[in-house]
Symmetry: C3
Subunit: 157 residues, 3 copies
């Protein structure tokens, strides 16, 4: 490990996250699957709370296949935009790393319900053969704006 | 070509694209022109379609001078914000490269018509003397939101 | 100074700015303070003007402690999102650098007043011991959208 190898690994993880976003928003689910390890874990915090006092977290989804099936079931029919910013990536070893990303997303379902959210991804990465993959992804939220025909208080959905 | 020279070229192309955005939004059209090769090609896909089934593409604009004249005629009087994210840049040779960027833009014309769009730039770059320049720019869209006094369906404008 | 050391310094300054955003939006004011030099200067241009003809600039705030107190007094009770994009960073010496960032921010106060702004940070950095810090931050605006119960024309607030 040295500064040069760290920069090369960091560059590769930036590319990994770019593919994560691009394949998700263009609905290339097969390619999206390849960005995760087989044993990846996804954790989504729904509540909007800086201190976390009223945070509500869904049960973790475990396994790359299960993550794709779960996310596709939620946003597969929706128009989506996901952007990442301001990566903070730490290379922990030759094969492990972690990172934090600021994020923004827009999801609009066919019935007109829409969310516009902001938050952070807290992620773990692992080198599998020669490719960095996402091994853990936890999404925390700073803010979610809801619009459209929600049937109940969307902050509880 | 090696990893170090790739990182240096990638850094230069990131700077190029940053200048592209900044000079466009601050209306420094002379400086904006310098970011393109003389024979650059601009292609804008207007339709919002992931699969491209109903995509509509304007005729390409060819030549750096023609690109500046065309874009300035459309947004020269507007308030604009253009942001880029999550670059995926491939250095193809000592003098050629390509890249994909996620993007978001806001354009508001003096009469109050406004678009808020999202998509990707698909670009080609060429090293001209010692400066990387944009040789090809194709914009595809994930989503465009329209607001304000549009006279006809803006999705056809 | 050489290209490798420039890339390492640039990477460190990118991380610095990522912490600036993350600690601000998660309200970790003590950690946020550490991102500034003791003698840092903050300048905020309120007016929205590309040419600057009608720009209005607040008096500069001088000193890291004063900057934290000032910003906290304005947005401490608000829900905020701040994102940065498209850094242009110049390493000027072993201990000094400057940068420009495109930015977007959302600030919503408890009474429902909200701004959604866009612009650029123009910054100076200094290496203090082994950490890069923000020594100067000037925010210029491309656009601010106001919503909610503003009592007077918010463009004059």
């Amino acid at each position: 490990m040295n500064e040069a190898s760290d920069i090369i690994a960091t560059t590769a993880i930036n590319r990994l996250k770019a593919r994560y976003f691009r394949y998700m928003d263009t609905k290339d689910w097969r390619a999206w699957r390849d960005q995760f390890t087989d044993d990846a874990v996804l954790i989504i915090d729904h509540a909007v709370s800086v201190e976390g006092a009223d945070a509500r977290t869904d049960p973790p989804i475990t396994g790359g296949d299960a993550i794709v099936a779960h996310v596709r079931s939620i946003i597969g029919s929706a128009s989506t935009v996901h952007h990442g910013h301001m990566a903070e990536i730490d290379i922990l070893s030759n094969v492990t790393a972690r990172g934090v990303w600021a994020m923004e997303d827009i999801v609009e379902w066919p019935d007109g319900r829409q969310i516009h959210g902001y938050g952070h991804y807290h992620e773990g990465y692992r080198l599998v053969s020669t490719s960095w993959k996402i091994a853990r992804l936890q999404l925390t939220r700073l803010r979610i704006d809801f619009s459209g025909p929600w049937q109940e208080d969307p902050r509880r959905v």
